[in-house]
């Protein structure tokens, strides 16, 4: 498993799906570990009842079917597929509504889905997903942003609750034109955040703020640190011409 995760850290992020399926075929015994630890670009399905798309992930999958957050039904239909409790489903519906507005304000489009389920230690787990893809808009020719936020919510203790957030952002940007050729930056980063918060504002408010802060930080790191480092690398390989020209003797 360690070697598999090592490989995933080195393979081109735009080939994540191929890498994962190659690993699955080499290590069939580790398939559930691989599927839960390797983040792959998000896929969507259409909810036939609501005529609305929803995002697929390991957390809304049962056998080969995926539960839609809109109709709470499995696609393709599945008898006695696993469902959240009524109370949790209520929270899930609300979370989907609010998160859709959040997504619209930051992403101006895209798709979002929220899934919740009970866990073994009296708390629950929530998974917030956002998928945004862009083709040919302005300078950007092709871009994709997939965000996965999984929050483990602990049981209430004296009016507070612990939240453990694990977030992954997968990003790819490609520009292609005749004068400058093809330029592609892609990557994924993963971050964790732990907080203990008063329940007075409610779970959704607490989780939402954590996600908003995390997304802001991750966007910033990708932009400043990760893309910055690759740009720095290019300049180390071949420093910009002004520097080179200064060292050139007059001819």
């Amino acid at each position: 498993m360690q070697a598999a995760m090592g490989l995933m850290r080195r393979m081109p992020p735009k080939h994540t799906e191929t890498s994962l399926s190659a690993l699955l075929s080499l290590l069939p015994d580790h398939s559930s570990d691989l599927l839960s630890q390797v983040d792959q670009p998000l896929q969507v399905l259409r909810d036939v009842d609501f005529e609305k798309e929803f995002i697929l992930c390991e957390y809304n999958r049962d056998a080969d079917s995926y539960r839609s957050p809109w109709s709470n039904k499995y696609h393709p239909p599945l008898e006695d597929g696993c469902l959240p409790s009524l109370e949790l489903r209520k929270l899930e519906i609300e979370a989907n509504d609010i998160f859709a507005i959040y997504r619209d304000q930051y992403y101006e489009g895209g798709i979002s889905s929220v899934y919740m389920w009970e866990d073994d230690n009296e708390g629950f787990v929530a998974c917030f997903l956002i998928k945004k893809g862009e083709g040919r808009r302005g300078y950007l020719q092709e871009g994709a942003w997939d965000a996965i936020h999984v929050i483990e919510v602990g049981p209430e203790q004296e009016g507070t609750t612990s939240y453990r957030l694990n977030s992954t952002v997968m990003l790819s940007l490609t520009t292609n034109n005749e004068s400058s050729g093809s330029f592609s930056l892609s990557g994924s980063i993963r971050r964790e955040m732990n907080m203990r918060l008063p329940l007075a504002d409610g779970h959704l408010c607490n989780m939402g703020r954590m996600i908003e802060e995390m997304e802001g930080k991750m966007r910033n790191s990708l932009d400043q640190v990760y893309f910055g480092k690759t740009r720095e690398m290019v300049c180390t390989l071949r420093p910009p011409s002004e520097v080179a020209q200064m060292r050139m003797p007059e001819s």
């Binding site: 075929s25 609010i98 304000q105 950007l140 400058s180 939402g208 932009d223 690398m233 390989l237």
Partner: protein, 305 residues
């Protein structure tokens, strides 16, 4: 899941293919790390040895890796243009042939090149003059660049009247795994000397890759192709004009890469996710009841989008 199919063991051949795919997709300078992981996942030395013996030579040539020759006679580039044999690569500058171990990425020994492996004196004049000019440019422009000029067509042409073709290869790699960062710049310039038209046609392919992997995995993959031409002149004049064509195009390309990076935050990134919501304030999580209410109202009025 389709259990039956999952259970079916992969054939050795399929395993070799998968292992090769991983090896060939290694970022610059990282094939040895990838090989270690692949080996431990396969847990089958036979399969691993077959995959690595096939993948390493391909990777080494496509990344145009640079190996030090053992007798301090300089560096040799491993490319498909100077490949005499699977393990033998010509270094025309020192007129030597380097024998390499692909999997260890090491040059084991060198031998003097045989006459028939080297270009004719007529070609060598053009090659040598261009080599000197390109070397001067590479020394100036790349802190750690290595270059070579090789004859790929018509190496036995012994005087004016026939076409021939040289290739200029430039390879610069910067590996600092301790800083989680590796990268490489590779350019290949095909230089066709057209005797009948008295022109020299120059076609370039540049490929730049970078990998940053501290708590993540981000990779740059940039490619560019261009063409130019100049007059067929004396070896020295050709060398000067060809090297200035290369310098010009590579400098321009670097500027366009810089421009792509500068465009990222304002346009590209913003199209995907804004720094702040359209309202320019953080999302009002404390006030979400308001949203639910407006939603209910719009639902009731039937004005929901």
């Amino acid at each position: 899941m389709a259990e039956e199919e999952e259970e079916a063991e992969l054939s050795e051949k399929q395993k070799v293919e998968i292992a090769k795919w991983f090896l060939l997709n290694s970022p610059p300078g990282e094939i040895q790390y990838v090989a270690k992981d692949v080996k431990s996942i396969l847990n089958d030395d036979g399969v691993y040895d077959e995959a690595s013996s096939e993948a390493f030579p391909l990777y080494n040539k496509s990344h145009m890796i640079c190996l030090q020759m053992p007798d301090r006679s300089g560096d040799v580039l491993v490319t498909s243009f100077n490949e005499l044999d699977v393990n033998a690569f010509l270094d025309p500058r020192s007129a030597q042939v380097a024998i390499v171990d692909h999997v260890k990425q090491d040059c084991i020994e060198v031998r003097p090149a045989k006459d028939e492996e080297l270009p004719s004196p007529y070609i060598e004049e053009f090659r040598c003059a261009l080599d000197a000019e390109v070397m001067r440019y590479v020394d100036e422009a790349y802190p750690k660049g290595v270059c070579s000029v090789l004859c790929v067509n018509g190496k036995d042409v012994d005087g004016p009247g026939s076409d021939f073709e040289l290739v200029v290869v430039i390879s610069a790699a910067r590996l600092s795994p301790q800083n989680f960062c590796n990268g490489s710049w590779r350019s290949v310039w095909n230089v066709g000397f057209k005797d009948d038209q008295q022109r020299v046609e120059v076609k370039g392919k540049i490929q730049v890759g970078a990998h940053y992997f501290e708590e993540g995995n981000v990779q740059l993959d940039a490619k560019h192709e261009c063409e130019d031409s100049t007059l067929f002149q004396s070896p020295e004049d050709c060398a000067l004009s060809i090297s200035s064509i290369i310098r010009h195009h590579e400098t321009e390309y670097l500027a366009s890469l810089e421009a792509s990076y500068l465009n990222l935050p304002d346009t590209t990134f913003k199209d995907l996710r804004r720094k702040l919501p359209v309202t320019r304030t953080l999302f009002p999580w404390h006030n979400t009841m308001q949203f639910s209410l407006t939603r209910d109202i719009s639902k009731e009025l039937g004005i929901e989008k």
